[in-house]
């Protein structure tokens, strides 16, 4: 996972992103994951695997190219943003980009286990990713705020300062 040398504190500045954009994107992701879960549960396994792969690739796009260059961000800017007006504040793109990485890991692990012969991994990964995307979109919940700290405390992440 990328670790830009982000300055902490109010470093977002004018170059930040509209905080509503990632939540809009998470809403689309949540709906897609719900559809995927339905496909997996009703036995349309191949369709479910292909859709989860597409969702994972979209997560990879956000995680590696940055949330600003995600297609849902373009959709938000062209369709939704003109109807909403200017945001009250701008936000650092690093947290939602990290969240995309979390989504990639969850859906990617699900696909990997599915390919290795664990069929249950498909609906479980879709359900877990759905809960995270849904809570992020509807309630503004930030899974990265918990997960990242767990990685720090497990000494997985260490920065030489």
């Amino acid at each position: 996972m990328s670790q830009p040398e982000t300055v902490t504190g109010p470093a977002a500045g004018a170059s930040g992103i509209d905080p509503r954009s990632p939540r809009f994107g998470a809403g689309i992701t949540a709906v897609l994951l719900l559809v995927d879960l339905f496909l997996a549960l009703t036995g349309a396994t191949t369709a479910a695997a292909v859709l989860l792969l597409a969702i994972a690739l979209l997560f990879a796009w956000g995680a590696f190219a940055g949330i600003q260059r995600h297609p849902y961000g373009l959709l938000f800017r062209s369709l939704i943003r003109p109807r909403l007006g200017a945001p009250a504040e701008r936000e650092d793109p690093a947290p939602p980009t990290f969240a995309q990485g979390v989504g990639l890991v969850v859906t990617g692990l699900g696909l990997l286990l599915f390919v290795l012969g664990v069929p249950l991994a498909l609906p479980v990964a879709a359900a877990l990713a759905f809960v995270a995307a849904f809570l992020n979109s509807v309630f503004g919940y930030c899974l990265g705020c918990q997960l990242y700290l767990l990685l720090v405390r497990a000494r997985v992440i260490r920065r030489t300062a």
Partner: protein, 146 residues
């Protein structure tokens, strides 16, 4: 599984996630009084001095969007009150502090009195009104004892 049962599973999942979200929103960001008074010195957390009367010690990480809004809220509250300072610490470099104060989420804010004793703890995005009430209580008892 037939389509009908699958819809049932989806509905149950959405219901559980909604309940979890409502519970999270109701409980996060509330200031809780800390009874076990632990004392924090400025040198233990960084280089910034603490406030003479109170300090809002905020633990953050780089990948935490609500940390930024909380920093703005706490900064504004601290600026309005003399002797109150807002100090922000990035836990990425200080896992020892995360362990010591059992921080499970960011932002987590400790409200310290003038002596550096932990008087209250706010898990999640801080609410300005709640922080002011907590500070009033701490600064008020400060006056009484002085």
């Amino acid at each position: 599984m037939n389509g009908f049962a699958a819809f049932g599973v989806l509905a149950a999942l959405v219901a559980v996630a909604t309940a979890a979200g409502l519970l999270w929103r109701a409980t996060s960001g509330r200031a809780r009084t800390v009874r076990r008074a632990e004392v924090v010195q400025p040198g233990e957390v960084g280089t910034e001095p603490f406030g003479g009367r109170a300090t809002l010690l905020q633990f953050s990480t780089a990948f935490c969007a609500p940390c930024r809004s909380t920093a703005r809220v706490l900064g504004t509250v601290a600026d309005d009150l003399t002797g109150v300072r807002h100090v922000e610490v990035d836990l990425t470099n200080r896992p020892d502090l995360a362990d010591r104060f059992s921080v499970l989420q960011t932002p987590t804010t400790l409200v310290l009195d003038g002596a550096g004793s932990v008087r209250a703890r706010i898990g999640g995005p801080a609410r300005a009104a709640d922080v002011r009430t907590t500070l009033d209580r701490i600064l008020g008892s400060d006056h009484v004892s002085a």
